[in-house]
């Protein structure tokens, strides 16, 4: 076995000291590849994530709700841009990443493959889906790769608005008619389990996690974050007056943490493999945006060249 090189030693020492790795630094190829995969998947999720809620922009129940939803969907676009920026520091091109997404060679969060059936879904996405995203993302603000950590800080500042607008929307509906309350409960029934799957497979089935944690790219295990999310969310559900669709959900008086039922990982794998209710639709729309918008890019380029 050869001794670790000087640059490897410098990298290891930087990680051990909890200092940040910056783009100019030498980094192991595995570290770079893991980051590209994770940041690209994250960026794709933000961009695809505009679709389920975007579907309701023209059917918002009031001008107030429409302005809020428009701002939120615009934020998701912004988050995608911050993350593509961070990915580009690792020597990849964002147009290339988009092509990989459309060709199915890179993934996005499977949560966005579920449909938004009523306006209550807009509220539940803000509360549960963005709530889960916050749980995942706050520790990433301390990720060992500087540009990723800095992008996450910007994103986390904005996510809080997303979750609060959703919860407020649901509080409003719960104070409305029986029919509106039923809509909220129905949306909670459909989104609860997928939101738990957002944390990824159980630790035992997550082979890359240990290395990512050793590198300081990830800070907590999937199961640890999932448990934290459940503990935070149950009291919010009680206040809202909805029932989370898990008969096994119960507070463990000894640990102060909630026990929850088994997650259907077969469903997770099916949706991840492309067989969710909306996979094809989401990618088709992203492809259309790329292809049908290409003339705008070309026109702006031609204009810039003419005036250079």
């Amino acid at each position: 076995m050869t001794a670790p090189s000087l640059v490897q030693e410098h990298f290891d020492a930087t990680i051990a000291a909890e200092h940040r790795i910056e783009p100019r630094d030498w980094m192991p190829e595995g570290y770079r590849k893991t980051l590209v995969r994770q940041i690209a998947q994250h960026a794709h999720s933000e961009i695809i994530g505009m679709q389920p809620e975007g579907d309701w922009l023209l059917a918002a129940p009031s001008l107030r709700r429409k302005a809020i939803l428009l701002a939120k969907v615009q934020d998701e676009a912004g988050h995608g841009m911050y993350l593509y920026s961070a990915a580009e520091t690792l020597g990849v091109d964002r147009a290339d990443l988009t092509d990989k997404l459309i060709e199915g060679r890179q993934k996005y969060s499977s949560i966005f493959n579920y449909p938004t059936l009523t306006y209550a879904d807009v509220g539940v996405i803000g509360w549960l889906v963005d709530g889960a995203a916050i749980c995942n993302q706050v520790p990433l603000c301390r990720s060992s790769y500087g540009p990723y950590a800095r992008a996450m800080i910007r994103i986390c500042k904005e996510e809080s608005f997303h979750q609060r607008q959703g919860y407020e929307l649901l509080l409003t509906m719960m104070a409305g008619t029986d029919e509106q309350r039923a809509m909220v409960q129905d949306a909670v029934d459909r989104w609860w389990w997928p939101s738990l799957m957002m944390f990824g497979p159980p630790d035992a089935d997550s082979p890359n996690s240990a290395q990512s944690m050793a590198w300081g790219i990830k800070r907590h295990s999937n199961d640890e974050l999932r448990q934290r999310y459940v503990d935070m969310t149950v009291p919010q559900a009680e206040f809202l007056g909805v029932t989370l669709p898990d008969p096994e959900l119960a507070l463990d008086p000894e640990t102060g943490r909630y026990h929850f039922g088994a997650i259907d990982w077969e469903e997770f794998k099916r949706v991840l493999a492309g067989e969710g209710p909306c996979n094809a639709e989401r990618i088709a729309r992203r492809r259309a945006a790329r292809d049908e918008g290409a003339w705008v890019l070309e026109a702006a380029t031609a204009y810039a060249e003419k005036h250079a």
Partner: protein
């Protein structure tokens, strides 16, 4: 001088052989801009991120939409990443080490009796 690429909003980066570059990196036709925002009067412009735009004017518009949606700034600078010259990691020692042994440049270098006021 090695080629300079953007750092994604956090400083331009010269890529030497130690930073592998993907094959598709230069594919998008629009140049990369680094964005600097003055948060409020009295503060410096601070580097906040990067974006692609066809020209300088569009870069300012895009920077406004992307980085100041919540009153984060009163002034924006954009500069093409390719126009930034950065210190290279290879020359780290020569560039920064000389200041390391000049401890007399710091006020703590000087012992002053405790009963001397206001110093």
């Amino acid at each position: 001088m090695s080629e300079v690429i953007a750092e994604g909003g956090h400083g331009a980066v010269p890529t030497g052989p130690e930073v592998p570059a993907g094959p598709g990196r230069v594919r998008s036709g629009w140049p990369l801009y680094e964005v600097f925002v003055r948060g409020k009067r009295g503060l410096n412009h601070v580097h906040v991120g990067s974006l692609h735009a066809p020209d300088d004017e569009m870069a300012v518009h895009a920077a406004r939409d992307l980085y100041t949606r919540r009153n984060e700034g009163v002034s924006i600078w954009v500069v093409r990443s390719a126009d930034i010259t950065a210190s290279s990691p290879d020359e780290k020692d020569e560039l920064f080490a000389p200041s390391g042994d000049k401890v007399y440049r710091h006020p703590t270098f000087y012992d002053i009796p405790e009963n001397v006021p206001h110093i």
